[in-house]
């Protein structure tokens, strides 16, 4: 979707403000939200793409107003209801309703180190050879899906060169909507700054973007 989360190349966001000696979390609730998102993700009712898309679905003005972990909290709340962990009434009242099925086991403290160490790899076995090779010129398709995509607006229609062939990875555009993993080859494509931003820009700079095969056309 062409949402406000797709920020690459936008103007008007102001200067970068780095905080000295920044704590990992600024408030305890931020830490709890971070941990809740991880602990609930463990059940596998949704995936990382669906989770990102849920944040993208927060109305644009709200997204820009909210802090980072406020967005996480909002999206987690929506996911919990959507995937039947909580009823809308439970979320609204904070009171557990009798008769709601409990799903166990919860992630326990002793399993946390293994949970962190294993992660959730999204590379998959290659079913066929990659369509593109290093050095090949490709054009990013001008796609404007209303659902989730990881094809940023600023590269659509632009020409680049395949820099690296990463292997086969889960395709977010289908996975986010529970339409299957549709694994396909993923490439790092290098776009010259001038191709992206016009003649006036510094000539030798570039941006590498990771793009799936379905985002690309041969030239």
């Amino acid at each position: 979707m062409n949402g406000v989360h797709d920020m690459g190349g936008m103007h008007g966001m102001g200067p970068v403000r780095a905080e000295r000696n920044e704590p990992v979390f600024h408030h305890r609730w931020e830490a709890r939200v971070f941990a809740l998102v991880r602990a609930m993700g463990k059940f596998g009712r949704w995936n990382i793409d669906a989770s990102r898309h849920q944040r993208e679905l927060i109305p644009a003005a709200e997204q820009l107003r909210m802090s980072y972990y406020e967005r996480w909290l909002e999206a987690l709340s929506q996911l919990l209801v959507r995937h039947a962990f909580l009823s809308p009434e439970e979320l609204a009242t904070g009171k557990s309703e009798s008769g709601t099925a409990k799903l166990t086991p919860a992630l326990s403290a002793d399993k946390v180190p293994a949970f962190i160490a294993s992660g959730a790899p999204v590379s998959r076995k290659a079913g066929r050879a990659p369509r593109f090779g290093p050095g090949q010129r490709v054009r990013a398709r001008n796609l404007n899906p209303t659902g989730h995509t990881r094809l940023p607006r600023y590269v659509r229609g632009k020409t680049g060169i395949v820099d690296r062939v990463h292997g086969v990875f889960v395709f977010p555009d289908t996975n986010a909507h529970f339409l299957g993993e549709s694994p396909q080859h993923l490439y790092s494509v290098r776009f010259e700054a001038q191709e992206l931003w016009g003649e006036a820009t510094t000539s030798q700079d570039s941006v590498n973007v990771d793009l799936w095969e379905d985002y690309l056309d041969a030239i």
Partner: protein, 209 residues
Amino acid sequence: MKDADHEHDEHRMPSDPTLRVMALESLLIEKGLVDPQALDALIEAYEHRIGPHNGAKVVARAWKDPGYKARLLADASAAIAELGFGGLQGEHMVAVENTPTVHNLVVCTLCSCYPYPLLGLPPVWYKSAPYRSRAVIDPRGVLREFGLELPAETEVRVWDSTAELRYLVVPRQPAGTEEMTEEQLASLITRDTLIGVALVQKSSAEGAR
């Protein structure tokens, strides 16, 4: 770059989320979906154990051991696993090397992708709209706000983490540090140098960043 020590506009309303999160956590505990001690353990891991010192160890090893550096640049996930790092949000790693002619900078324009096992959780500025919007269109302007002015002839390569690959910048080793031990070298390597918004200095004057 303005100092944001006293400008917490990203965090201006803690009271409401505090109550909301407490209520949500209690509800999930009551339903048997969440073990609060597991939450504590997750938080403890990222507040105290997993952070940029991990990434610094990887780079210091690469500086000391050319064989390791070659493995890191060829297959970063495997090389990083040699030092015992990997897992959540670092399942698929790529290391990109700064050279006398190329400077690398990492961003996630679409969200906040960041190599947790090597850098911990991202700082607020990395997740902020100013950084995400400008790193790709005006990387030199962004670097200037971090106090880094690169020569015009240096090629700036920005890496936008649009997939599940996570990028680690291998900064250049400062001249005159060849005799240092791996541990001493690691102490010079800050988080910002591993994202690409700073260069490694011969003495660790940059402190915690």
